[in-house]
């Protein structure tokens, strides 16, 4: 998760620089720069959504692993697969 976020933040910074520099040098129209900036906002928001989803996946995996331990413990104490 941390490495994903770090790598994506770097990409976002590169994309932002690619928008700003040509615009500052007048090599790009305002409209083009605006569309690219709007598109980058969509990309940033996608990265945040994916990061949220990945956290939920990690929580689910940890929860299921913990519950499996409990299940194994109960079944071993009882002597047959109750759960």
């Amino acid at each position: 998760m941390k490495s994903y976020w770090k790598a994506e933040s770097e990409k976002l910074a590169i994309a932002l620089r690619m928008i700003i520099e040509p615009r500052a040098a007048n090599e790009r129209s305002k409209a083009e720069a605006k569309i690219l900036l709007n598109q980058q906002k969509v990309a940033t928001s996608a990265v945040l959504t994916a990061a949220e989803g990945m956290s939920a996946v990690a929580v689910q995996a940890a929860l299921n692993a913990a519950l499996k331990v409990i299940k194994d413990l109960v079944n071993s104490k009882i002597g047959f697969p109750l759960l």
Binding site: E27, E32, Q39, K41, A43, A58, L63
Partner: protein, 171 residues
Amino acid sequence: MNRLTLSKNPVLKSWVAILCAILLAGCAGAKLNSDYHEVTDKSLTTIQQKTDDFIETLIAQSGTKKAAFSKHQAFYSDIAQELRRLEFRANAIPKNDKTIDLVKKIRLAILGEGKCTAEGTSLRDLHCMSANKSKGPSAIALANCRLNVNQTISAALSLELAKKQGVEQNK
């Protein structure tokens, strides 16, 4: 009166512990997210490849009449169809909210809402705006656009792969 208290009654304590364990284990396999979906993964990969190839072609044609918006309608129709199919499948999967949201963002980044103005968000808006309609966007704008589109699609793919790893961890 002989009151039943947890601290004083070891037998009752064990039964309460077992009951709690049973209740907790009943939640085993608890689902916060949908599982990994191979068709979604493949569909996202196809959309990424098609868009990337298209941008590459457009970069090569940039500044010529070959890059005109009117000459590339087939690509936009094809991607619109791919996205509709993907949206339909993603919507049919329970607890798939994040993927549904990400597919909406992919649509916004590639096709947008057809505004063709500075208010746009997409590759198509960049291509159909009045200044770029006849000879296509500049190569540098397209390279920038490719980065944004790839990042949006890769966010959705990363989530699918995280789901796959999560499922494998719980096997």
